[in-house]
Each structure stands twice: as structure tokens, then as C-alpha cells.
Amino acid sequence: MHKLWASAHKELLLLSRDWGGIAILFIMPLVLIITITLIQDSTFKTISDEKMPILLVNNDEGSVSESIYSELENAGNFQLITLDSESEAREKITNGEYQLAIVIPEGLSDALQKKVNQNVDNLLAKFELLETDSLPQASIQSKEIHLYFDPATQQTFKSSVRNGIDKMISKIETTSIYKAFQEQVADDENEVIFETQSFITFKEIIPQHGQDELIPNSVQHNVPAWTLFAIFFIIVPLSINLVKEKSQGTFVRLRTNPVNYATVLGGKTIVYLSVCIIQFILMLLTGVFLFPKMGLPALDVSGRLLNLFIVAGFSGLAAIGLGLLLGTIAKTQEQSAPFGATFVVILAALGGVWVPVFVMPKFMQTLSNISPMNWGLNAFYDVFLRHGGIGDILPEISLLFGFFIVTTLVAIVYNEKKNAV
């Protein structure tokens, strides 16, 4: 035990002599979490101060285009810039000056009205409310609204805009149909036959354990995800620390000393786990106290602190196990540092930090199950967003602990084999 504490003391001294390293360990994760949350918060907000400029070419000049224009304006997210020609809009999008252009075709309102009237008349004729001879027979050409997207625009944004416009058009069509029926059926044009308000509405319910109600926001989502990302970055300095021991000859001396490799790694684990916990505390403090001052929602940790620290601790252990293994196998810092950093990004992607796991392809979802970052993220979400207790996070923290044990054991065995020359 004395040797373990002596090893931990030495690691602490080594770390305390590297102020640049400490700054990177503690300040960079905070910069990361603040930056990401600021960016994502504005993306998540339904009403944003920042309006996206979009181009509108209105070749219709009828009631439908008026409705589209007013719907877009009322949405509040867009700054509408009207252009006269489709070619001009196309050029501006191609040049990347704007992300989106909407081109409303000529005669859209007329065509829609004629089509709706035709359908309504056909229907009324079926009920013998209208004579068949009076029905117009000409076919009406369907109309296309052209949407131009900047090639750099992300697929998710394109989908959401397309869905929004589709919904808007459907609403306009429905309103036109109701209006046509109203004109045909009602004796008094002021008489209201059809209620045009939506009959089916949505209510968002977030099921949670316990009575407390918590509305998830960008902070509740981002802090756990990016905290975990930062915790796993401990792999890089830890593996460099191990490689340095080899290059400066101190490992050779330790191998001649009556101390086993597990004790040496144990000392490193104690210190680097403390670093992870301090990182976590700093990020919680940022979420709770700094975010509200920056106009972001405050991080709610009430009643969850103990479980949050348990998850952070076991996530830290999993990251440390990986760092010990990498540092044991790597021969140079040029091997350990880039590999460690890239591997953390891969683990984060697999774990659902960038993109939710449920939207990944089936194969990647399966792979995600073996990412320790996925276990950690699920455990954090259990505590942060689902009010989960220790029983709920037990499977994830068991996996994280198992991962630490396995990676550390592999590092010890590898070291034994490598030195058995």
C-alpha cells in the first residue's frame, strides 16, 4: 500500500509540474462544453433571435403564394428576400450566398383553385347534388414549387425545411377544399359549416421516474455528452505519461525495483481519476452557475449529485483503463497521442455523442453497444433526464468497471510478455 501511495504522490508531483498540461486538462473541456452548448442551444430554440435569410421568387402573385409568404413570415425564423427571377435565385444559391431559395410557379393559385373545385364538383355530383353535365372535363396540370439548396446544406436541415413547406402546402390545400365546399353547399356565405381548426393536436409528455418535472433542454443533453467526451480525453495525457516513462528510462529502473506493474499503474489510476472528477466538478459548476449568466438554461442537478458522481467516476475508470493499455502498447508519443485522440472521437461517434444511436444504421447501433462512451452516456441520461436511481445505472456502471478491469489486465499481461525477452 505504501508503494501505491508513493506512486500516486509521484504522479501528482509530475502533473503539478506541468502547468500547460493542467490548463489543457481543465480549461479545454470547459471551452468545449461552453462552445458546443452555445451552438446547439441556438439550434434547438424554436424562436431564435437569429433569422435565416431565404430567397423567394413569387411567379404566382395569387392567394396561395400570399399564404406561403405570410406563413414563412409568421414562422419567425426566416428573413424573406424577394427576387424576380428563378435564374437569379439559382445563381445566388450556387455561389453559396444563401442556403435556400423557394420558387413559386406561375398560376399556382389558379391551378390549385381549379383542381379543388373540380374535385369538389365531382364529389357533389356523386351525391347527386350537382348535375354531371355541368362538370368541367379538362385535366389540370400539377404544379411544382422549386426548392434550391446550397450543396453545403446538411441533410437534416434540408429534410426539416422540406417537411415544413410540405405541411404548409397541405394546410393551404385543405383550407381551399373547405372553402370550395362552403361555397357550393352553404346558402349563406357567412354561415360556418366547417371548423377549419386542427382537430388532432399534440401534447409532449416526457415520462420520468419520480414526481419532479424536468423539461430537457440543450444543456441537459449537452453537459453529459460532452463531459463524457472530455473525460475520455484523459487517454491522451495518460498514454503520453506512460510512453515518457519508457523513453526517459525510469521504467527500466522500476523493473529492477521490487514493485509490480499493477502498483505503478495503480498510482497513475488514482491521480488521473482525481483529474476526471475535478473536470466533472468544473463542468457541473459551469452548467449550474455560468450557463444562466450566458443566457443559457441552467443545468439541473438537484437530487442527482451522488449518482452523477458515480457515473463520472466509473466513466473515468473506463477511460483510464484504455489510456493505460494504449500507453503500455505504444512505443512513442507520436503513436499514442494521435491514436488516442482519434480513437476518442470514434468512440464518441459510436457512443451517440454526435448523432443519437437510434438514427444510426442497424450495424452501427450494434457496434455502439460495445462503446464504453455509449454506456456512460446512457447512464448519464438515466440520471440527468430520466431521474434514474442507482438500480437503473447499475448495468452501465458494471460494464464501465468491467472495461477498466479488462483493459488494465491486458496492459499488465502485455507488459509481462513484452519484457519476457
Partner: protein
């Protein structure tokens, strides 16, 4: 004290033995010099005896302890001064010594007293709280030595302990090693400084191609080799004048 029987070492991928069927007995309190050209097998032999590497065949015991059965006990009674500085550059001399002393189970006042006594002996007490990175080559060599002897080893292996140091540092190191030897420590040492070895060692062995070519007291070896006036003459007669560069 040290019995070596038919000890051999062949590294993976190598065609030749670095140490080949080597037999040697070293008595207690000897200062034994392992001399030889580059690549002769000196460092490999010290690495074998300090359990850093495993022999391909053969056996050895130190103070009756076998490397196969008593590895940890063996590590407790030996000290190794590696050729490279095996120290943490950003830690002070005291912190380095405190850590490596702790690895031998030393602690508290006992450890502190041993560190301070050693630093005083080697003329470094003023620099105990200076970082190693600020030390000269000679100062690092002395700390490198001290880190290996805090636990009072019965046997001390030194791999070129005076390479690249100034005359004053070399003198302090050699005098200190003599003092340790008088207190009962058996010393096995490698060096390319043959004059130093001639004056310092009670017995030497000249090794080449992994085997001992000759061994004995320095003055005996000089006497028994024709036209030899010193150990360097003996060395060149035995190992030849051809360069031994290898990579």
C-alpha cells in the same frame, strides 16, 4: 556470492548469442570489472543478473537466491545503476530519491536520513530541492547512483557509471563506491575506462562475443601478458584492434 553456470542469452531474431555458456563466480565484497569492446555482451550480462531479461539457458544465483524462484527477494538485495539517467527530469533530486527509495519499502525518517546522508556524501545536499532537468551530467550520474543504493544492496551492478562525467564527479563516484565496498557491498561494474578499472577493480574479466576470454586480478593479467604495461595493453592483445561498430 554470485554463481553463474552455463548462462546463455540469444535475443529473438538474432543469429548469435550475446552471452554464451558463461561460467563465473564472484566472491562477496569483490569489485569485479566486466570489460570488453562494444557488443561484447557486458550490458546483456548485467541485464540478466538484474532480472531485466530472461536467459535462454543456464542459471545463476545471488547470495543463494535463484532468479527463477526468488525474483522479488533477489530484487530486494541488488541495486542497478543503469547506463542511461533513469530519473524524472521535472522532479527534484529529493523527490526522485524519495520515490525510488519508497519502491524498496523505505519510508519516513529512515528514508529521509538515507537520502540526506547520500546527498551529502556525493556533494549534492545544496541541490536536493532543485529539479533534475537543471543538473549537469556529473550531478545526474551521482543521483542516478544514489537512487540505486538507498536500500543498502548486497550487490551493486553499475553499467558504465562514469561515462560522460567530469574528472571531479568521477572521483567522487569512485571514492563513494570504494566506501560502499568496504561496508560490505559487492560491486560488479562495466566500463570502457580501462585505467579506471585497473585502479578500482579487485578482479576483472575480459568478455568478447559473449564469452569470458580471460579473468583475474588486473596486476596478474598485466604480468602474464607479454609486452603489456597496463590493462589497456592486455585488452588490445586479447580483443584486437579492429573496430567493433555495430547497429
Amino acid at each position: 556470492m554470485i554463481q553463474i553456470q552455463q548462462l546463455s542469452k540469444k535475443y529473438k531474431g538474432s543469429d548469435d548469442f550475446s552471452v554464451h555458456n558463461l561460467d563465473l563466480n564472484i566472491q562477496e565484497k569483490e569489485i569485479f570489472g566486466l570489460l570488453g569492446p562494444n557488443g561484447a555482451g557486458k550490458t546483456t550480462l548485467i541485464s540478466l543478473l538484474s532480472s531485466l531479461i530472461k536467459p535462454t539457458s543456464g542459471n545463476f544465483t545471488i547470495n543463494g537466491l535463484s532468479f527463477k524462484k526468488n525474483k522479488n527477494q533477489l530484487k530486494q538485495i541488488i541495486g542497478i545503476v543503469p547506463q542511461e539517467y533513469a530519473l524524472y527530469p521535472s522532479l527534484t533530486a529529493y523527490e526522485n530519491l524519495q520515490y525510488f527509495g519508497s519502491m524498496y519499502g523505505l519510508k519516513g525518517k529512515e528514508l529521509k536520513d538515507k537520502i540526506m546522508a547520500g546527498l551529502e556524501k556525493l556533494g549534492l545536499e545544496k541541490f536536493s530541492h532543485k529539479k533534475i532537468i537543471t543538473f549537469s551530467g556529473g550531478m545526474k550520474r551521482r543521483i542516478n547512483l544514489l537512487a540505486s543504493i538507498l536500500h543498502n544492496p548486497k550487490v551493486l551492478f553499475l553499467d558504465e557509471p562514469t561515462v560522460g562525467v567530469d574528472v571531479q564527479s568521477k572521483n567522487v563516484i569512485i571514492e563513494y563506491l570504494k566506501e560502499l565496498n568496504q561496508l560490505g557491498t559487492t560491486i560488479i561494474y562495466t566500463s570502457h575506462h580501462l585505467n579506471e578499472a585497473e585502479a578500482f577493480c579487485t578482479r576483472v574479466a575480459i568478455i568478447d562475443h559473449g564469452t569470458i576470454i580471460t579473468k583475474g586480478k588486473p596486476e596478474e593479467l598485466i604480468r602474464t601478458h607479454e609486452n603489456a604495461h597496463n590493462l589497456e595493453d592486455v585488452f588490445l592483445q586479447i580483443t584486437g584492434k579492429a573496430l567493433r561498430d555495430h547497429a
